[in-house]
């Protein structure tokens, strides 16, 4: 909402400047968005009088003028056809920046005559679009008067009102708060009733649910036309378009008192009555904006004998609007239910100054006063004779008194405010204070408890005065504030970054089609109002987002991406359905190297996953890989190049592998891409221990020894299945078994492969003798043969 300083001063006796007003508003809780100050732009310009204007000796169309200015008499060259002796106009001194032409004035001869300044047109000053001649002002204006004052321009303050304070949507409400804050004295805002002659002959009916109270009055014999210049200027300054005196008066009431009204041409009202009721199914109405609305049974309509003539509290109807020919006007001052008015605005997609105010709740105590005030204005501007006020229904009961322990101000805010000062603030804001009982005014229905009163006192006293008091010491939780899970999320990020992955943060939603490819897309996880159609479904996996990100980077010329994200995925809409996932993706496009070809990048990814699992404190996991024609990992993986890591037969901790080419194609991404997804919640949390002491470490003084074995196995046998029995062949002695070569080809029978394994033996009690080593080797060979039919390669 906007207002001007002079408007404020109608209600507030003050000498405050615009800056002081803006600051006081801000500190009282009114958020000032913007101050448009035309005076600042026109500060250099002032009123001047042309004393003499003679033809320029060297130019037909120029005149040399002697001008009385704020700087004394000046010789100024002017090309305007209306530059003449006796003219009162606007003078710009040398050095002034002329906003409309974008130039800064310099003392420069014009065809041989130096011009000591400039006389300006309306366009050059940006006050209007007139460029035909210099400004012509009333002769009564004195030389030296600032241009902004000559044009009646003043600063316009634009501010934002929080939904709890509809009273601030009237200038008087702002004046009241500023007066309480010590910026001036509030002028008496009370309204004198205007006696009427004879009854208002139009009957008023209300349906209490839609409109609790409806006051109206007929004024006969008015003359409607353009409103006077002062009113037009006032409305235009705050961005309202002047229409006619009657309509302008209702707008004035809206902005001055937050009291929206409506005026009807009484001659156009049918049936001798007007009613506020709920709409009927199919009921239609052409509103003042020229559009036709369907007023269903949820909407409050104003109706006469002919049907709906207005949308109550929102907008009047075309059929009964006032015009130049209106002689009898019916003025409506009603209270419309805030929730219903808000809903009507949403349902019809229609807002207005009135709707905005009613939806927030206008002063229930100002329904009849507003009508009286409007009557006074109509009589003053349009003449006419008022009938008596007629009221149907009852205004909602005024707010009830409640108890307020003044000590609560100190307890809740920390501010030391004397009781008398507390009472003074509340009284200035319109509250009634009787001892410990406080009654809010009818325009402050947001206040219904003692905490609200503390806010009133604190904000008027000033939040600047709040003491900054340290929080009391609190015992910190032993071992840090993070839970194991929270610490794991944090460590996972840094572990992945340390291994060369860049952390992405992507949307929690994605297009349904992609969600479906990754096992999601459930109806109940689809947003009913997505911001875009490709962001409409809660994600079942982070991978599609990472794939898309890698593909987008590749299209921009950066194909070698390694990305990860730590974030939620959603199996359903319940809290337990939200998982915390670490997902990582590599698009392996490593640059060629002079040092030769790198190993299969899938194993680099596996190494990263294993390192992460170790960092997270995961126990040993089984790796499960499918055979030919599909495996246990999910369908979005390459069937032969993907696997699962499991804890027991059921708990899947992670899946990793190469993404299925068909999936990448569907996501419009160039492959290959390698990825993993790890469910942080599936990693068991370590048992809480009473002490941080680590288990004792026993270091053997005996040298470990290593022996190499090469086995022939079926080519389909996973190496891991060969290693496992070897490790188990003697758990006490065998410390490690590691595959270091896999070979197929010459020297190895068709359909078989040779797997070379280095076994590390760690003696514990004594050095092993040759026969003991031989015996251990035999056990290893036997275990390998028993498990997977492996034969020692000779």
């Amino acid at each position: 909402m906007k207002f001007t300083l002079s408007w404020l001063k109608e209600h507030l006796e003050t000498v405050a400047t615009v800056d002081q007003v803006v600051n006081a508003m801000t500190m009282a809780g009114l958020e000032v968005e913007h101050v448009e100050n035309p005076a600042a732009k026109l500060a250099a310009f002032s009123v001047a009088k042309v004393v003499e204007a003679v033809q320029h000796p060297n130019a037909d169309r120029l005149r040399v003028c002697q001008v009385d200015t704020v700087d004394g008499r000046k010789e100024i060259v002017c090309g305007a056809p209306n530059a003449r002796a006796g003219l009162t106009t606007i003078y710009a001194p040398l050095g002034a920046y002329v906003p409309g032409s974008g130039i800064t004035l310099e003392a420069r001869p014009v065809r041989g005559v130096v011009s000591n300044g400039m006389l300006c047109s309306g366009r050059e000053l940006e006050v209007d679009s007139d460029a035909d001649g210099i400004v012509e002002l009333p002769d009564s204006l004195e030389v030296g008067l600032p241009a902004a004052d000559a044009f009646g321009l003043e600063a316009v303050i634009d501010f934002e009102v929080t939904p709890n304070r509809p009273d601030w949507l009237g200038v008087v409400g702002i004046a009241r708060d500023l007066a309480a804050a010590g910026l001036g004295t509030l002028k008496d805002p009370s309204v004198a009733p205007v006696p009427g002659k004879g009854p208002t002959t139009i009957e008023i009916r209300v349906d209490g649910d839609a409109c609790p109270v409806f006051a109206g009055r007929l004024i006969r014999g008015v003359k409607n036309g353009p409103s006077p210049a002062w009113l037009q200027r006032k409305l235009a300054a705050v961005g309202l378009r002047p229409i006619s005196a009657l309509v302008d008066i209702t707008n004035l009431m809206s902005y001055d008192r937050c009291r929206p009204l409506h005026v009807y041409d009484a001659a156009k009202l049918a049936g001798g009555f007007i009613e506020a009721r709920l709409g009927k199914p199919g009921e239609r109405l052409e509103a003042l904006d020229g559009k036709t609305y369907e007023a269903g049974p949820e909407v409050c309509v104003i109706a006469d004998g002919s049907g709906a003539v207005g949308l109550g509290g929102v907008m009047g109807g075309e059929s009964t609007k006032v015009s130049e020919t209106t002689t009898d006007v019916f003025v409506e001052s009603a209270y419309f239910d805030p929730i219903r008015t808000a809903q009507t605005g949403r349902t019809l997609g229609l807002t207005s100054d009135a709707q905005y105010r009613f939806a927030r709740g206008v002063d229930t105590g100002f329904v009849v006063d507003g009508l009286e005030m409007a009557t006074r204005l109509i009589l003053d501007l349009c003449g006419g004779e008022p009938c008596e006020v007629r009221v149907a229904g009852h205004a909602p009961a005024p707010p009830a008194a409640f108890e307020f322990d003044h000590a609560y101000v100190k307890k809740l805010s920390g501010l030391d405010v004397p009781s008398t000062r507390i009472d003074g603030i509340l009284t200035a804001l319109g509250f009634e204070v009787r001892g410990e009982m406080v009654t809010p005014p009818t325009w402050r229905r947001d206040v219904d408890g003692k905490a609200d009163l503390v806010e009133e006192v604190a904000r008027i006293e000033g939040f600047d005065a709040l003491p900054a008091e340290p929080l009391p010491e609190m015992q910190h939780p032993a071992g840090g504030v993070l839970t194991v899970r929270q610490a794991r999320m944090r460590n996972a990020r840094r572990a992945m970054a340390a291994r060369g992955y860049a952390e992405a943060v992507t949307w929690s939603f994605m297009r349904t089609a992609w969600a479906q490819l990754f096992g999601g897309g459930d109806e109940k996880l689809r947003l009913t109002n997505p911001i875009a159609s490709d962001l409409d479904c809660m994600r079942p996996s982070i991978l599609p987002n990472l794939i898309e990100a890698a593909a987008r980077n590749a299209r921009q010329g950066f194909a070698d991406a390694a990305l990860f994200e730590v974030g939620p995925t959603f199996k359903g809409d319940q809290p337990a359905d939200q998982l915390t996932i670490v997902a990582a993706l590599i698009a392996p496009h490593a640059p060629r190297s002079w040092a030769g070809k790198a190993a299969d990048p899938l194993f680099a990814l596996k190494a990263d996953l294993m390192a992460l699992l170790e960092e997270m404190g995961a126990p040993n996991l089984q790796i499960a890989q499918g055979g030919q024609g599909g495996g246990p990992a999910s369908s979005w993986w390459h069937p032969g190049r993907s696997a699962r890591l499991q804890l027991g037969p059921k708990t899947v901790v992670a899946e990793f592998g190469e993404l299925h080419p068909a999936i990448l194609k569907a996501l419009d991404a160039e492959g290959p891409m390698l990825a993993f997804e790890l469910d942080l919640g599936a990693i068991p949390e370590p048992k809480k221990k009473a002490t941080k002491t680590k288990p004792a470490l026993t270091l053997s003084s005996l040298m470990p020894l290593s022996r190499d074995f090469a086995f022939l196995v079926d080519q389909a046998t996973p190496a891991g299945e060969l290693v496992r029995p070897i490790l188990a062949a003697d758990k006490a002695l065998i410390a490690n078994a590691r595959v270091f070569d896999v070979y197929q080809g010459k020297g190895v029978p068709e359909g078989q492969k040779s797997v070379a394994i280095e076994v590390t033996v760690q003696p514990t009690e004594k050095t092993l003798t040759d026969p003991e080593i031989e015996a251990l080797s035999a056990r290893i060979v036997a275990a390998a043969e028993k498990a997977v039919g492996a034969k020692l390669r000779s």
Partner: protein
């Protein structure tokens, strides 16, 4: 009698002339080997009279020691030369590039999150969490948003479809529902990571993803908030002011940050406030701590008595404050990122430029980043 001087001169010359270890070995055998010239001389000592031996013994032994020394010296020389030659042959071109390594990065929002956690942990705050998909009760009703109130409209809520009971879940519009989950125990079966009622005194922060249907340079449909909640018996607005002022000065790592508290309105706090920081916006970007402008940085207030009541806490016994920061926004201000949307665009160049090293974990010794 052999001319010892000549023999020594000949042997020394052949040792010095040995060009490699093999030639030196041949020279050693010729002198000190079983039948070497020096060995033969030594053998003659046994047949000498004591007087001859007394005269010639030291001369022959001296000769032997000098020749052995010369051989050892020449051997060391030859070995050093051999190593030099080997090392020279092992030369590589070190101007060649190593295999390129990717530069891993922590996302700036997550870095800022860690920074915030570090500061609040120091003040005794723990971490509480809640689900992204919330019910109407936790997101609105319990937080004192009256049904159908315009304040709900201001949140640009994302809705999920109606369930069998006619209820619609929402994507949480703020982290404030976790205030409710922290103060009030529900009978709903919840995973352990979700806050579910704790006895006051309470001191927690709540970071997380939040969602609003909005998109421009400073709004994205998903963003991160950090809520704070302190409940005790005598916590007042002065504590709130100290907490936020202390946080801001530590976060921006300068004592110069000037802040301003001004009244505002939130349904779930009373009194409500916003805190601004002094800044300079004249140059296009925002400079914190200088200039004549103010920028809103956090919404806050004393927890509304209705919210306490909704959580089963007696507002005449318990009181406290709550606040809510935009994590991404604080990051943009501190590290100079101009557009919020870039945070979620996963551009590797952007991540590399604005992201943080894995080793930049905030700690008291090296600062926040």
């Amino acid at each position: 009698m052999t001319d010892l001087s000549k023999l020594e001169a000949d042997l020394s010359a052949s040792i010095a002339a040995a060009a490699d270890v093999a030639a030196l070995e041949a020279a050693r055998i010729a002198a000190l080997g079983k039948s070497g010239s020096v060995s033969e001389l030594l053998k003659t000592l046994g047949a000498m009279s004591p007087d001859e031996r007394r005269e010639l013994g030291p001369l022959i032994n001296g000769l032997r020691d000098r020749i052995a020394g010369a051989i050892a010296g020449r051997k060391a020389e030859l070995e050093a030369a051999e190593l030099d030659a080997k090392l020279a042959a092992e030369r590589v071109d070190l101007t060649l590039p190593p295999a390129p390594a990717r530069r891993g990065r922590v996302h700036p929002t997550m870095q800022v999150l860690d920074e915030m956690i570090a500061i609040f942990a120091e003040m005794g705050f723990g971490l509480a969490e809640g689900p992204d998909i919330e019910d109407d009760f936790h997101n609105f009703t319990a937080l004192n948003f009256p049904p159908k109130h315009p304040a709900r409209e201001m949140h640009d809520t994302f809705w999920l479809p109606e369930d069998d009971r006619g209820e619609r879940k929402v994507l949480r519009t703020h982290t404030s529902p976790v205030q409710i989950r922290t103060m009030q125990r529900t009978n709903e079966k919840l995973p352990a990571w979700i806050a579910n009622g704790q006895e006051p005194p309470i001191r927690v922060i709540v970071p997380g993803r939040t969602y609003r249907s909005d998109s421009d340079a400073t709004h994205t449909p998903m963003f991160h908030q950090m809520e704070g909640l302190v409940i005790d018996k005598a916590i007042h607005m002065g504590h709130l002011k100290w907490t936020l002022e202390t946080f801001i000065s530590r976060f921006f790592e300068t004592p110069l940050v000037e802040t301003r508290f001004r009244p505002h309105h939130f349904p779930f706090t009373e009194p409500s406030a916003e805190m601004d920081v002094r800044c300079d916006r004249s140059g296009g970007d925002v400079k914190i701590g200088q200039g004549d402008d103010w920028m809103e940085i956090v919404g806050c207030g004393m927890v509304h008595p209705n919210v306490l009541r909704n959580c089963g806490l007696d507002p005449d016994v318990w009181q406290g404050f709550a606040f809510g920061f935009g994590i991404d926004r604080l990051g943009m201000l501190k590290y100079g990122m101009p557009d919020l949307r870039d945070m979620f665009a996963s551009d590797v160049r952007w991540l590399e430029h604005y992201g943080f090293s894995a080793f930049a974990a905030p700690n008291p010794a090296t600062g926040l980043s």
